[in-house]
Point group: C2
Chain length 406, copies 2
């Protein structure tokens, strides 16, 4: 008998019929002989509605009170799913984050899990119950309700799976799994049977929003196998596991395309120590996250530095860059929000230098100009013009024959 | 500096504008120099919507899960009101029943409060905060969320007022106070400035649903002065306090009219010990609450026993009565759901035998036939035909000149 943790997102619980279907699915898993812990998100647009209401009342609601408010959504889901399981004749018990003993720090709206007690969960599992846990929430050392931020329910599920030594953690959602590329952009994209934690981390940070990177990091740290699958389908989804030998011959696992970044460049920076430090200290002090940073070798004592930020942070980033430019004695600042980041991810590529050449060839054949390049052990990212993004993704997908095999 | 507990009902918190108004009212109370604890109910029809949803999922939802579900409504109200107070520049903190330490037994959906810790409430009050508490809920010794049943938020408020030694507990609602009669039935009904706990208890149990009797009993036991008033008006409402000398000359405080009862009669019961016991054991075993019980002196060894029950329980009551009738050898059972209970309540009437006569005269003058009479130290109730109910209430109100003075 194994222990399985299943997590269901809000879109799987929007109405009575869906809740009943999920209950049947949970019961089927239980009937197959496993112990089942289910983590649920808030239903449908509940959270958005509550956030809107809060902002109508207070433009900047206190984060502690936001947590108090929003945590109710998951509690409602947990109670309703438990009732639906009872209606189908099985024992089940719901718990809030507080009741499960999910201890977090006090960073309201983005708390970190410190420890999970889970005594009550184990107790009920021993009595043969299916246990339903309200995701996304915890309790700080003073007894305040906290929430875990974006992707918080996934994090609850993965953490519980780690603490309970679960055989795997199923993330049940509205997609069939992880694909070689976004099927809306690359029609021949293929569902992957298996992806490594590191590949998934790169893909998540590059805009493949199946899972947030915090959850993947947690799963990797505690070696919790993840299974991404559709809430209303019996098809196998995508397994996310540790890299193993069977994966070695794969060069490129998948392609991501993100249009959510903008580019800022410093031109003609004098080639002296400390300039880059000054620039990024200023950017960091304005609470702006930087994704890609590139500095090329200098020519005649002058070099260019470019970086990308989320589009929403561009105005602030330009202002900070201009300020630093004045301090260091005037270099030109330019910016562009019409860019796309097209990346390939795969654990094998670090050992095969030909991969980068093949990617650049694919782009050249389509006439796509590369503005910036950045690489890591398992990833190559190119910044291209936004209008070329989709074309670039399709060309690379074809070049690496990702639609054909696994 | 005094401590005041204020309770706001769900109809006072339905929309953003109302929540802002209540916040301003709470702040005004704080600015007048008092410490303020606010207890809130779920907003508008939130609870009804959640109950409906639960019943669509499970015809008989588990009571533990209902508590898990419904307690979220008050938690949402508490967070939103706290945000509204923040927006108006004051410190405030919200708490759930669990966080306040409202320890109850495990009778889900109708739990009894055993103990209140309130350490966190005192702590925040000392720091100058307004404290907002989610009403209606507590926590049992195992850590499960419980709810207190009908009028539960009032009970939370009164209990907190008792534990915190509050100067008074204000029940802020959608009526101006307690009236000599229901103004929709008796237009000249007058708001009472003061009512004793015992009078309010009789009035509550007779259908004047300003307050449920559990809250009044709790207030009486711990001598918590209650102040019933309108949430959006500055008018003084009705004080509910211990009987004192200033009240002594009042004979009749008010009139109640209830059409929610039905009558069952046993005719020709043989006048032997144990018959009434048998009958009411059977009624109790079917979980039926009996309001009024009347047995008159017997004639020729036979007597009649009548009692009233809530209309919804009538079918069950008739079935039980017939069963007992067969057991004791056949007496006739009759029933009538077309009745009204018109009562007068007042602490002075026990010392003035003329009050009953005056009430009966008022009814006779209007041609209203009295079917049953029952009295207590501070109450006289008459069962009349349902169609005569309003006429009876008006006639008695006029007879005792209740519209004229206090």
């Amino acid at each position: 008998m194994a222990l399985i943790v299943q997590k269901y997102g809000g879109s799987s619980l929007t109405d009575v019929e869906k809740i009943k279907k999920i209950a049947a699915r949970v019961i089927a898993a239980k009937d197959s002989g496993d112990e089942i812990v289910v983590v649920v998100s808030a239903r449908g647009d509940t959270t958005d509605k509550l956030i809107k209401l809060a902002h109508q009342i207070n433009e900047q609601p206190a984060e502690r009170e936001m947590d108090m408010l929003l945590s109710t959504g998951e509690q409602v889901s947990a109670a309703l799913l438990t009732m639906a399981i009872h209606a189908q004749g099985k024992d089940a018990t719901s718990f809030t984050g507080t009741q499960v003993g999910i201890a977090t720090d006090s960073s309201h709206t983005r708390a970190k899990i410190l420890k999970i007690d889970a005594k009550r969960v184990k107790n009920k599992l021993e009595k043969g119950h299916i246990v339903i846990v309200a995701g996304f929430q915890g309790i700080d050392y003073e007894g305040n309700i906290t929430t875990l931020g974006r992707g918080g329910s996934d994090l609850t599920a993965v953490s519980l799976a780690a603490v309970l030594n679960a055989q795997r953690c199923e993330i049940c959602t509205d997609v069939e799994g992880v694909y070689t590329a976004d099927p809306r952009i690359v029609p021949e994209a293929r569902k992957l049977n298996v992806v490594s934690y590191d590949e998934m981390l790169e893909m998540a940070s590059l805009g493949a929003y199946v899972l947030y990177d915090r959850s993947v990091e947690m799963a990797k740290r505690f070696s919790v196998p993840l299974h991404i699958r559709h809430s209303f389908s019996r098809n196998p989804g995508t397994l996310i596991i540790k890299e193993d030998k069977s994966m070695e011959d794969i060069l490129v696992r998948g392609i991501t395309l993100s249009k959510e970044e903008a580019k800022v460049s410093f031109h003609g920076v004098s080639d002296k120590p400390g300039v880059a430090a000054k620039l990024f200290q200023a950017i960091a002090s304005a609470n702006i996250s930087v994704n890609m940073i590139i500095q090329n070798v200098s020519k005649e004592g002058l070099s260019d530095i470019s970086f990308t930020v989320a589009k929403g942070d561009l105005k602030k980033a330009i202002a900070m860059a201009r300020k630093v430019s004045r301090q260091i004695g005037g270099c030109k600042v330019s910016a562009d929000d019409g860019i796309a980041n097209v990346s390939i991810v795969g654990i094998g590529m670090g050992r095969h230098s030909g991969v980068a050449a093949e990617m650049f060839t694919a782009l050249a054949e389509e006439g796509v100009n590369i503005q910036m390049i950045s690489t890591s052990e398992i990833k190559i990212s190119c910044i291209v013009s936004e209008k070329d993004g989709k074309k670039a993704a399709r060309a690379i997908h074809t070049k690496f024959k990702l639609g054909k095999r696994n």
